[in-house]
Each structure stands twice: as C-alpha cells, then as structure tokens.
C-alpha cells in the first residue's frame, strides 16, 4: 500500500511536470514576439528589447524552461500582462469561487447520479428507469451554457426566484450548480446503472438472495460496493469535465472565478495568466484523480498494489 501511494504520487508529479513542458512549448509556439505583446504596440523598440532581456527571452529554449520551472517551484507564475500583478495573486483571488462551484456541482452530480442509477438498475424497465435514463441522455446532450441561460431565463427573469448571476449568497449557487452538474449527473447515472446491473447478476449476489438477505440489503451491502469501483473512476474523470465546464458556467453566470479570468485572458492575449490558470486546473485535476486512485484501495480490498 505504501509503495503504491509513492508510485502513484510520483506518477502524478511526473504528469504535472509533463504538463508544464506542454504549456511552456505551446505558449512559445504563438506567433509574434511575447515581449512586443506584453509591452504593447506603443512601446519603443528599445523598451521591447529591455523587456526581452527582463523576461529571459534571450536565453535558449531549454534554459528558458528551467527558469520558468524553477520559478514555478518558488510559486512564481510570472506577471500578468494586463494588470502587471503577479499571476499567482490573480489566481488566488479567484480560486475559491471556482473550487466551491466545482465541489458543489460534483457533489450534486454524484448524489443525484448515484440515486438515479440505483433506482434504474433495481427497477429495471420500469417507468422510473425509463424517466431516469431519458433525463441522463438529455443531461449529457445539453450544452452547459445554454442550460445555464435557460435556467436563468426561467428562474431569474420570469419567476424572480433566484439571482441571475453573481457570487456570494447560497442562492447564487443554485443555478450554476445545476447547470454544471447536469452532464456529469447523466454520465454517473448511466455508469452506475450498468455497473450495478452487472454486479447484481453475479453469483455471490444470488447466493446472498438465496440465503434470505432482503433485496435492498443485497443491493446496498453486497452489490453497490463492488459496483462503485467503475463509478469512482468516472467521478474522477468527470471532475475534469466539470473544471472545463466551469469555464462556460462562470462566463454564463458572471461568476468571479478562474474560468472567467481564463476566457478574458485568452481574449486579451494575457499569456502568463493563461499559462498559470491552465496549470492550476491541471494540478487540481491531477490531485483529484490521485485521491480517487487512493480511494480504490479502500473500496476494493482485492486490488493489490506494488
């Protein structure tokens, strides 16, 4: 177990280092002179040249990467071209709204998805199964930003029940959370259903039933625990989808998070900020998947590591 954790941790770190290389190279692929972009069109050639030296752009590429990477280890993500504030500061200001939205959405998606999946699998071919699976396919097909706007139209513009956007009160979380959770909810419901159906057909489930364990006891105690393993994997992957969807949801609801900052930075070509945010998102994704992998060991004692 200890060896497994170390191994898995090393892999996550290695992936993140890989991600820094990819982002570093991608940003350098952009046509045009970064110093010119940061300095602005009005800057003189002399200023641009000085900035180029300041930014380390005169060094060869691998040296530039090492400088970038060392800075990263010291928490230095560079300076925003737009605000001249440290990128780390810009991100820190917006981390909380994004994390809260992502966590509330994955929680709602997991609870609702699991519930729908369990109902569907245990009442197979019933009306409930049909309704749940129809909702699931609608959930995975609906554009998150459109769902957000339609919810806003109904609950904010016409009914005046909930705020149309902004961040702060608990009520402001409701619409963005539903919009963002819909897709993952559908995926989780579908995988829960198929995984549980598969487990319910196993011999040990039949044995338990034959021994007189009541139906719900079999589902909850025997089948669900095993059925949860693929569900866990999917929840981890969905967290990534959700972070991507957060960019769209935040834009829809004027949510002051990293996603909206990312979009604004792309529109204003603020590459240090883009770089920093994408790295932060990738790091969050890596940490969640690391936790999920560790959770396997807890859920499934059959898995041996090392």
């Amino acid at each position: 177990m200890g060896r497994y954790i170390v191994h898995r941790l090393a892999l996550a770190l290695l992936t993140l280092v890989g991600v820094t290389v990819v982002i570093f190279l991608l940003i350098r692929l952009i046509p045009g002179d970064p110093a010119r972009i940061i300095a602005g069109l009005l800057a003189s050639d002399d200023e641009v040249r000085r900035l180029r030296v300041d930014l380390g752009l005169t060094h060869p590429l691998h040296v530039q990467y090492l400088i970038f990477f060392t800075g990263l280890l010291h928490g230095n993500l560079g300076i925003s071209a737009a605000t001249r504030a440290p990128v780390l500061e810009e991100i820190a200001l917006r981390l909380r709204p994004t994390v809260l939205l992502a966590v509330s959405s994955i929680a709602v998606a997991t609870l609702m998805g699991l519930a729908a999946g369990i109902v569907s699998a245990t009442r197979r071919y019933s009306i409930l199964d049909y309704v749940a699976m129809t909702l699931a396919v609608l959930g995975v097909s609906i554009p998150v930003f459109w769902l957000g706007l339609m919810l806003m139209l109904l609950f904010a513009v016409y009914l005046h029940w909930l705020p149309a956007g902004g961040y702060g009160t608990p009520a402001s979380f409701i619409l963005p959370t539903i919009a963002l959770a819909a897709f993952s909810m559908g995926i989780i419901a579908r995988i829960t259903r198929s995984s549980l159906l598969e487990t319910l057909s196993q011999d040990y489930v039949r044995t338990a039933r034959a021994k007189g364990v009541p139906r719900h006891g079999v589902v909850l105690r025997h089948a669900l625990k095993n059925a949860l393993i693929p569900v866990l994997t999917v929840i981890g992957l969905q967290f990534g989808t959700l972070l991507g969807g957060a960019v769209l949801t935040e834009t829809t609801f004027a949510w002051p998070g990293m996603g909206r900052l990312l979009v604004n930075s792309i529109l204003s070509r603020d590459y240090p900020v883009i770089q920093g945010i994408v790295l932060t998102f990738a790091a969050m994704f890596a940490v969640v998947n690391l936790l999920i992998d560790l959770l396997y060991a807890y859920v499934d004692p059959r898995i041996h590591y090392g």
């Binding site: 992936t15 993140l16 890989g18 991600v19 990819v22 982002i23 991608l26 940003i27 952009i30 197979r124 071919y125 049909y130 699976m133 699931a136 396919v137 609608l138 995975v140 097909s141 609906i142 554009p143 998150v144 930003f145 459109w146 706007l149 339609m150 139209l153 513009v157 149309a164 995926i187 579908r190 995988i191 198929s194 995984s195 159906l197 598969e198 057909s201 196993q202 011999d203 693929p230 967290f239 990534g240 989808t241 959700l242 972070l243 991507g244 969807g245 960019v247 769209l248 834009t251 829809t252 979009v263 792309i266 529109l267 590459y271 994408v278 998102f281 990738a282 969050m284 994704f285 890596a286």
Partner: protein, 296 residues
C-alpha cells in the same frame, strides 16, 4: 447509457421476463437510434435546401427590423442586427456540422494510426505514444481545446484542429486496444509467416477490426465535437462573425437575454437537438455493432 437494454448481463434473469422484454427492448433500441438518424438527416436536408426555401440572407443586416420577437415572417425572431434567426440557425447547421465532422475525421485520422502502431509495435513506441496520450488527458476536458485555441487563434480551421486534438486520445486508446487484442491471433501470425509486411498487416488485417467500434466512437464524438465547438463559439473563441455558428449566435444572444429571450434560445435548441440525435444514434449503433463497448 440510454437504452435500458444496453448492459450485457451474464447471469440470466428469469426467462419469462427476458422474453417479455426482449422484443420490446430491441424495438425501442432501434427506435431511438432511428430517431437520432432521422433528426441528423433532417438537419442535413434542411441545410441543403436552405438557400431555396428561406427568403433571407443569413448575414445581411436590416437595421429597421432589429430584435423582433418571433412572428410569422420571422418564426425565431430577429437578432440585434435585424438578421432572421431561423435563417441563421439553419445556415448554422452547415458550420456546426462541418466543424464537428471535420474535427472527428481529424482526430480519427491521427489517433487511429498512432494507436494501431503503438499496439502492434509495443516496446518503446508504445511507451512514448501512451505517455503522450496521458499528457493530453492530463488537461481537464474542454480546457485542452481552449488552450489550443488560445495559441492558434480563432477561425474554422483552428477550431477543427483544437477540437480534434482534444478528442484524439480516445481514438488512440481504441485502436491500440483493438490492435493488442488481435495481434496474437493466428491469422496475423499466418500473414506474418507468409511474408506480409508490417504496414500491410496493419491496414489489411488489424484496421478492419477497428471499424465497428470506430463508427460507434465517431458518432458519439460527433455530438461531443459539436458541443465543444459551440462552447468555444459561445466564449467568442470560435469562428469569426458574421459566420452563422450556433455557439457564437448563443453568445451574442446572451447580452440580450433579458429583453429578447429568443436570440439565445433557438441556436441552443439546435445544438441540443443535434447532440441528442448523435448520442442516440451512437448508443444504438454501439448496441448493434459493438457489444464489447457497452460500458458508459
């Protein structure tokens, strides 16, 4: 997964229930897939006939008729530049489907050969390809396409490349999986013994095994590609205006949501419909063609 019948269950349920539901299940499975196919076909027919049946130019502004609510003359209303929204949604079908289809074709045409070679060759090649795929997958969902568009800039080609690259890992994994499962088969060995070259084995003997899952995957990816491309458009990072593209139209409509609900509503409905149709068709095809892929 959508159709309740879509999971293979090894332990048989009581026969009677299987009989009772078997035919019905089969029927409904095909009905939903068929519905998906019909909707997709409808979109294509509509967009082909568009210039003949729609009286308006999708891009011509008419400042006397801005922000008109839906009426007989303009069933979906008009936008802030007085353009007929029905016309723009119908013409948008071309752009959105074109981007979706090209993106899927792009990612399949790079991902499949990579996966095949990786699976058949193994060793260092496999290791390098797998780490590359892991790296792409380390970027959460939509963010890879977004980052690529940030680097490449907007426009149809760049959207296709970004969306396509973001979807590529699935194809690499699929093709590699198939290659791994067939490469030890006797007929591959026989071909090799008969002196058939590596490339020919790949194309003639391994690739055909991928076709069924590939068709399923591509149908499902089409829906996703349309969604991702529309998301980019919504953020103002898709195709350049005034090209009618569903996501971009939706983004424009967002500013007028409180006064003119119809601008954002109809393009979104079109995206929703197209994606449901692709997903239903994909699910149906998966059940019919590729029982092995039945997990979500």
């Amino acid at each position: 997964m959508w159709t309740p019948g879509s999971t293979t269950v090894s332990g048989a349920p009581p026969l009677s229930s299987r009989d009772r539901f078997g035919a019905w299940r089969q029927l409904r499975k095909h009905r939903t897939a068929l519905a998906g196919l019909i909707v997709l076909g409808g979109f294509l027919v509509l967009t082909t006939l568009a210039p003949a049946i729609l009286p308006y130019d999708p891009n011509a502004a008419d400042l006397d008729r801005v922000l008109l609510p839906p009426s007989l003359a303009h069933p979906f209303g008009t936008d802030h530049l007085g353009r007929d929204l029905l016309t723009r949604v119908v013409f948008g079908t071309r752009v959105s489907f074109l981007i979706g289809i090209l993106a899927v074709a792009f990612s399949a045409s790079i991902g499949v050969p990579m996966g095949l070679v990786s699976g058949v060759r193994g060793g260092v090649v496999d290791l390098v390809v797998q780490r590359f795929v892991d790296l792409l997958l380390a970027f959460p969902g939509f963010l890879l396409a977004l980052t690529l568009i940030a680097v490449l800039g907007v426009g149809v080609t760049n959207v296709v490349v970004s969306v396509g690259l973001a979807a590529m890992p699935q194809y690499v994994r699929l093709a590699r999986g198939v290659a791994l499962s067939v490469k030890e088969q006797a007929y591959i060995e026989a071909a090799r013994a008969a002196g058939v070259g590596e490339g020919r084995i790949l194309v003639r003997h391994v690739l055909p095994n991928c076709l069924a899952p590939l068709i399923v995957q591509s149908t499902l990816r089409l829906g996703e590609a349309i969604l991702v491309a529309a998301g980019l458009g919504f953020l103002g990072l898709g195709v350049k205006p005034p090209t009618p593209e569903w996501g971009t139209m939706l983004g424009e409509g967002q500013s007028y949501l409180f006064s003119s609900w119809y601008i954002a509503t109809f393009p979104g409905l079109a995206i929703f419909l197209a994606v449901i149709a692709a997903n239903l068709l994909g699910d149906g095809l998966r059940d019919a063609l590729d029982p092995r892929l039945k997990q979500a």
